[in-house]
Amino acid sequence: MSVKYLGEAYEYPSANRLEQYGGDINVYVRWERHLMFACPAAYRVPVAMSFGDFVEQLLRPDYAAHPDTAKLEFARCVWQLDKAPWQPVFSKSIADNGIGHMSYLSFSSPGLDGLHGKGY
């Protein structure tokens, strides 16, 4: 390791461990070319929740302010999980979709390109 330290050892666990979440996980989600939502958003999600419920009950209300949201269909979006192409199964659970603690999801919405089509 590169950390210089005094003493016998320098071993500390992550401050954000799965076991601290009681069956939930942290998931982060970005809607590409919609910079009105300035940052990827952070969620705490039960692993048994269906992916379909996740996007409709958690994501969609968060996007209410954007004019594109009325036309947003998650099933028609192009998805990535940790920057690799990925196809969610909306009927399956978060866990069964291979989404784990600290996963990063991003999606683009073809035909919906942000405010004035300029990515905002």
Binding site: E11, R33, L35, F37, A38, P40, A42, A65, S103, Y120
Partner: protein, 509 residues
């Protein structure tokens, strides 16, 4: 009786301050000074340390006391003459609130950090310089509190700075910066704070804030700032001296120092984005743009410094080209971020007036008019129809700098920059290659970071389940301390006081 020759400054100083320490005999020196070798920095001869400002303690007290007398006389006059009425506009106070919440606690942290360094170095000259700086930093914390306290009587958002220090999501940005330095060894601490922050980058902190205060009629902050800056010049010279000393003492120190400069240039740059955003958006009367300030204080002054260090084998910091790519858009992206998270900020945000937008077009040119002006106009229109935009969802923040990840790719302003870094089988996220490099160099340190969104989700923010409960836990009152400026009590009070200030007393007809 023959008169002796009068001693010069250098000789006097050497006689008065050298030879007062000693090699310990009851305990080995390494036991008395256990912290100054583990970083790998090799010092062959501590007598090579040169004090550029040759201040003895009596001179220190004399000049500091004189500065304090002048400062407090001005603060008295400011308070007695209702100086708060002379600021350009109450929006300006978002800059002062940002400073009180974000910087003043860092002054106190610096006081503690330099007290530790002032015990840790085995060289007496270095210890004395750190001890003086520790007192200076405590002075800065105190004088800032005195200067700003007057505003707390008239405006909101000032009351909670101490309570918020360990609780407010955005204050983890400056706090983690300093704690990263304080948990390092004494050589890295002084390199990061005295050199990188207080020499290389200080002008990008003090000049904008203090000039901003002067341009906006804030005599209290201006006076504090200029009074503190003369202390800063001592700090700057300590920083430069420590870096040159390390580089001259042993060639093995060069790669260690280079790695620290790479890290702390980047961390300092990320932190200063808040200052740039303050300059461009929170000052009703603008001093200069962030882009201009970066051009003068880094691209001219900072690079001149690194040219000087080249003779020791030091090169420009890694990723130094990225700020140049970001400088035309950083503040717009950051303001739009602060604006939307306004329900959990203890300062107001707003959309600038048209004359301010025109200033930004003039300063920033085509990219502002193409990308950011339309967004600001759109948000203004929303506000005017009663749908002022807020985002109440927690953001992803960077594992290293802890800033919400709004930064776009250096070469693509429409794509958020996300870097995934792994350590111990867990994924973490960074805002940039700069922060990702820092993480990868010391992952065992950064996996311990307490990131506010994660803490909130783990129930560590008083169990708050949404942004409203969170703001209440911060002791913030909705739309009084937080939220939109227009319509706030600060804005309404300001309008009323300015009207009363201008109205002539009733004359005889």
């Amino acid at each position: 009786m023959a008169k002796g020759r009068k001693l010069g400054l250098k000789e006097r100083y050497a006689l008065m301050t050298r030879g007062l320490d000693w090699e310990t005999s009851y305990q080995p020196m390494d036991e008395v000074f256990p912290y100054d070798r583990y970083e790998g920095i090799k010092i062959k001869d501590w007598d090579g340390w040169a004090d550029p400002f040759r201040l003895t303690m009596d001179a220190y007290w004399k000049y500091q006391a004189e500065k304090e007398r002048k400062l407090y006389a001005i603060l008295d006059a400011f308070q007695q003459n209702n100086g708060q009425l002379n600021i350009s506009d109450a929006r300006y106070l978002s800059a002062v609130k940002l400073w009180l919440q974000g910087i003043t606690p860092l002054e106190y942290a610096a006081h503690r950090g330099f007290a530790h360094a002032g015990r840790a170095f085995r060289g007496a000259g270095a210890r004395i310089a750190c001890q003086m700086q520790s007192i200076d930093e405590l002075r800065h914390a105190q004088t800032q509190l005195h200067a700003f306290s007057h505003y707390n009587q008239y405006f909101h958002g000032f009351h909670g700075f101490a309570h918020m220090r360990d609780r407010a999501w955005y204050l983890s940005i400056p706090k983690s910066f300093f704690e990263d330095a304080m948990t390092a060894g004494p050589f890295e601490f002084v390199t990061s704070i005295s050199f990188a922050f207080e020499y290389v980058l200080t002008n990008l902190l003090f000049m904008p804030f203090v000039s901003g205060a002067a341009y906006n009629g804030d005599m209290a902050t201006t006076t504090f700032g200029f009074s503190a800056q003369s202390d800063e010049s001592r700090h700057m010279t300590l920083g430069l001296e420590v870096v040159k000393f390390m580089l001259q003492q042993h060639e093995d120190n060069v790669p260690i120092v280079q790695a620290w400069l790479d890290k702390w240039f980047w961390r300092g740059y990320r932190l200063l984005g808040l200052v740039g955003t303050m300059m461009d958006y929170m000052l009703p009367k603008k001093v200069m743009s962030w882009q201009e300030a970066w051009g003068i204080y880094w691209e001219e002054n900072g690079i001149a410094l690194f040219h000087d260090l080249a003779r020791y084998g030091i090169r420009l910091p890694k990723h130094h080209d990225v700020p140049a790519k970001e400088k035309h858009r950083l503040t717009h992206e950051m303001w739009l971020t602060l604006y939307q998270y306004g329900n959990a900020l203890s300062l107001h945000t707003w959309i600038p007036d048209d004359d301010e937008l025109d200033w930004m077009s003039d300063k920033y040119g085509a990219s502002f008019d193409e990308l950011y002006r339309p967004r600001l106009i759109y948000l203004r229109e929303r506000e005017q129809r009663g749908e002022r935009y807020f985002n109440n969802r927690l953001p992803m923040v960077c594992q290293v700098c802890q800033i919400p990840m709004f930064y776009t790719e250096p070469d693509d302003p429409l794509t958020q920059c996300v870097r995934i870094v792994e350590a111990g089988g867990t994924k973490h996220h960074c805002c940039s290659d700069g922060c990702a490099d820092i993480f990868r160099h010391e992952p065992e340190k950064y996996v311990q970071a307490l990131l506010p969104p994660q803490q909130i989700y783990r129930g560590e923010a008083g169990g708050a389940r949404d942004i409203w409960e969170y703001a209440a836990w911060l002791h913030l009152e909705k739309d009084v301390d937080t939220g939109e400026y227009r319509g706030s009590p600060d804005q309404q009070n300001w309008a009323r006081w300015q009207q009363a200030h201008r109205t002539k007393p009733a004359d005889a007809a």
